[in-house]
């Protein structure tokens, strides 16, 4: 099995519901910015829910819409993709390609009847550890309001 | 054996009678899709008259997705469990006769050989089978061309002929006779019997092809140019096999979820490239040509050699549905009849 699918299979299993339901989140992070941002948040001991499962990708441009769809198929309550701010891509333009693809993925989810709030796309830089933690908290609250995702089938 | 009739406005009583004794399996109407065979729930509307396209009864006897084995590896111990379907008396209503005959083919594969398939057998063993002859035959049917359909009556326990406001119910086995003798049905009149006979003749003579009555299994040639012609057009989807009442090839796959493994089977078809592809890369049917040939030869030659029955029963689904209009009837006429005629001329 590839790294991605292994992660998806295992993570969902581990995120078996604790006493109080907490939304499970699949976060796909660019190695150069948001992943570093998450690292920063961690080393600064910032608090954010532990039900986030992080998949590191070399660039938000590597984010195949299938990753997002697979996340929902496996029953994550929310999926999030974070990349470098426009103009800041480590590979010059990967996030520009990602931008179109992700925008259309949002539209596809809408067409499929999945609440748009369950998918979140944002630009987060390596220095924005604070913002990373805040985003996760915010997304978690939003998902708590929405309630558990009832799955694709 | 006394035949009887079911007035259509009394269908509810008849189904009620059956429900007390059996699990009823019947085609259930679906929006924008062919009716599907399933165990009848209260809210379900059965499609009893057989006039519209329907999925095949194999979808019930051999589900598209069936868990064969569950393996639980939690706590370092390995438990292997075999979830068999419940054995209970079942009655299957309103399969097309061609589909009911196709169950004979499935029986040969799943019950007759050295190993009995326990999953199939649980559903099949206590099944009473009633086929339907609809008021009008579908344009694509050609059952009378593949076999002597009179002999098919013994493959079912009874037949329901759609005579407009009523079904004429004919029993063709002891089980069937017992059932209709005690069921809330009316007596058949001579007019009913005459109408039924007429309908039977229509079924027998429906879509008769030039190859009818010819021993196809003797005449299908390995090196016929038709295979190449079919392979050219074929887009290699699996519709003809998946919608076929007698195609039963399957794949077995494992799925892991945490400490649990589910081993399931699902449909597969000789039309897919990876069907015979081996781990080390060799594929005995590496191109579409042998795959197209396999489908026809399997039905008309190999299964005849193996079981003495023809694998195709002329239900016409592949004829109607093939995206590129590869018509099995045309192929058979071309491969068998034309060379025979040419031989006769020469």
């Amino acid at each position: 099995m590839s790294e991605e699918t292994t992660v998806l299979a295992e993570e969902k299993d581990q995120s078996a519901e604790p006493q109080k339901w907490q939304p499970s989140i699949l976060a796909i992070l660019c190695n150069w910015c948001s992943y570093a941002g998450a690292d920063l948040a961690g080393s600064a001991r910032m608090q954010y829910p532990e039900t986030v499962r992080i998949v590191r990708v070399p660039c938000s441009g590597r984010t195949d819409p299938m990753f997002v769809l697979k996340g929902f198929q496996r029953g994550f309550d929310g999926v999030m993709v974070l990349g470098c701010h426009p103009g800041d891509c480590h590979y010059a333009k990967g996030n520009y390609y990602a931008r179109r693809r992700i925008a259309l993925t949002q539209d596809l989810l809408k067409s499929l009847g999945i609440a748009p709030e369950r998918f979140h796309f944002e630009w987060v830089s390596a220095s924005e550890g604070n913002r990373f933690a805040a985003l996760i908290n915010e997304f978690t609250h939003k998902l708590e309001e929405l309630g558990p995702f009832d799955g694709v089938a | 054996m006394k035949d009887r009739v079911l007035l259509k406005d009394k269908t509810g009583d008849f189904l009620g009678f059956l429900a007390e004794r059996f699990e009823i399996v019947a085609p259930v109407e679906r929006a924008d899709a062919p009716a599907e065979f399933k165990e009848l729930a209260e809210s379900d509307v059965p499609a009893l008259d057989g006039s519209k396209p329907m999925m095949t009864p194999k979808d019930y006897l051999l589900p598209r997705h069936e868990v064969l084995v569950k393996i639980d590896m939690a706590g370092g111990e390995t438990k292997v469990e075999t979830p068999l379907p419940e054995e209970k008396p079942r009655v299957m209503l309103c399969a097309w006769l061609a589909d009911a005959q196709a169950i004979q083919v499935l029986d040969r594969v799943f019950l007759d050989r050295k190993f009995v398939d326990p999953y199939y057998s649980c559903r099949r063993e206590n099944l009473v089978l009633f086929a339907v002859i609809p008021a009008e035959m579908r344009w694509s049917w050609f059952s009378g061309s593949v076999d002597d359909v009179e002999t098919w009556k013994s493959s079912v326990d009874g037949l329901m002929y759609d005579l407009g406001d009523r079904f004429y119910i004919e029993s063709t086995s002891e089980k069937g006779a017992e059932l209709i003798a005690s069921a809330p049905l009316s007596e058949a009149s001579e007019t009913d019997t005459a109408a039924k006979n007429k309908l039977w003749d229509a079924f027998k003579n429906t879509g008769l092809q030039p190859f009818a009555g010819k021993a196809l299994y003797e005449n299908l040639a390995w090196d016929d140019p038709i295979w190449e012609e079919m392979a050219q057009k074929c887009i290699a989807c699996g519709m003809c096999s998946f919608m076929c009442p007698s195609c039963s090839c399957f794949d077995i796959q494992d799925e892991t979820c945490g400490h649990c493994v589910e081993r399931y089977r699902c449909r597969d078809t000789c039309q897919f490239e990876d069907f015979t592809l081996m781990g080390h890369g060799h594929n005995p049917r590496a191109t579409q040509l042998p795959r197209s040939r396999q489908r026809l030869l399997h039905k008309f030659k190999y299964q005849h050699e193996q079981f003495g029955v023809v694998g195709c029963t002329g239900c016409g689904r592949c004829v109607e549905l093939c995206p590129v209009n590869i018509d099995i009837r045309e192929a058979l006429n071309r491969t068998c009849v034309e060379p025979m005629e040419q031989k006769a001329e020469a």
Binding site: - | V80, T82, R113, C249, F250, Q253, V261, H280, P284, L297
Partner: protein, 284 residues
């Protein structure tokens, strides 16, 4: 017919259900091939389990899938079964990653077997290439263990390089109780035996077809060239046996992918005589 039917082997009633077995020993045969020894966890089955040379089994790595292997051990050597695995796909790779003590699932015995009863008193000639030795090893050891039933037992075994030869630990036995001829395509500094392909070596050795049965197994290319050699030595199709390989899933005649014409390799095979193969369409 063999009597797995009368034993307590669940395969007769639940043919898809793998039986847990533990890998007791793993032998590295060559850079890409390992031989696994397995014992059923169920003690009663372990004792009663019986099979015939030539039969095969389905081995499960739970969660990855199932794969077909011949039973390469001889039924005369009881207590455990053996299978040799060349690393090619996902299941075989998973097996290669396993250690002694790990658990597998086994469905066996499946398929037909070599008609050794009809061969009593005859000379047997084994000609194998590479991993093709695995299905023949079961029969070879079986015949060596019933040595008095047979005439000469000669083995010609070839591989690409000396390092590719499997079962080296049994060569001595094969050569003392019978006669063993080894050959490799490419030798090395230590290689003292024959160098060349199996078909060519067969021609050189020129065994007599009189009162003999030839059993051959190996890669398709070897089979292609060895059959004419047998023919020119005077072997008739009825005297030549091999095992065929097709993709299998169920192993019990249901899943429908291992047919060659109207024969199913999993039920009617894997052992076929050349006379039988000549009747089949050329699609394997």
């Amino acid at each position: 017919m063999i009597d797995s039917q009368t034993t307590n082997n669940p395969i007769t009633t639940l043919p898809y259900t793998p039986i847990p077995a533990t890998l007791t020993k793993i032998v590295t045969e060559s850079w890409d091939t390992k031989t696994f020894h397995a014992e059923f966890n169920d003690e009663a089955l372990k004792d009663s389990f019986t099979y015939e040379p030539g039969q095969f089994q389905q081995v499960s790595v739970f969660g990855v899938g199932e794969c077909t292997f011949c039973l390469t051990s001889s039924p005369t050597r009881k207590g455990h079964i053996e299978f040799s695995v060349k690393k090619v796909g996902s299941v075989t790779s998973a097996l290669h990653d396993m250690s002694e003590g790990d658990l597998v699932g086994i469905r066996a015995p499946l398929g037909n077997f070599f008609p050794y009863n009809e061969w009593k008193g005859k000379n047997l000639l084994f000609a194998g290439g590479g991993i093709g030795m695995a299905p023949m090893r079961s029969l070879l050891n079986f015949c060596l263990d019933n040595r008095d039933d047979y005439g000469e037992i000669t083995t010609i075994y070839g591989a690409r390089t000396p390092g590719d030869l499997c079962f080296a630990y049994e060569f001595e036995e094969w050569n003392s109780k019978g006669k063993l001829h080894l050959t490799v395509d490419v030798g090395d500094d230590d290689w003292k035996d024959h160098v060349g392909h199996v078909p060519g070596y067969l021609k050189e050795l020129a065994p007599s077809p009189d009162n003999a049965i030839a059993i051959t197994c190996g890669p398709p290319i070897m089979i292609k060239f060895i059959l004419p050699e047998f023919a020119s030595l005077g072997f008739k199709p009825e005297q030549i046996y091999t095992t065929l390989e097709m993709k299998m899933k169920c192993g019990v005649g249901k899943c429908g992918r291992c047919n060659i014409g109207s024969k199913l390799v999993c039920l009617d095979g894997p052992v076929f005589s050349l006379a039988e193969i000549d009747e089949l369409p050329p699609e394997f």
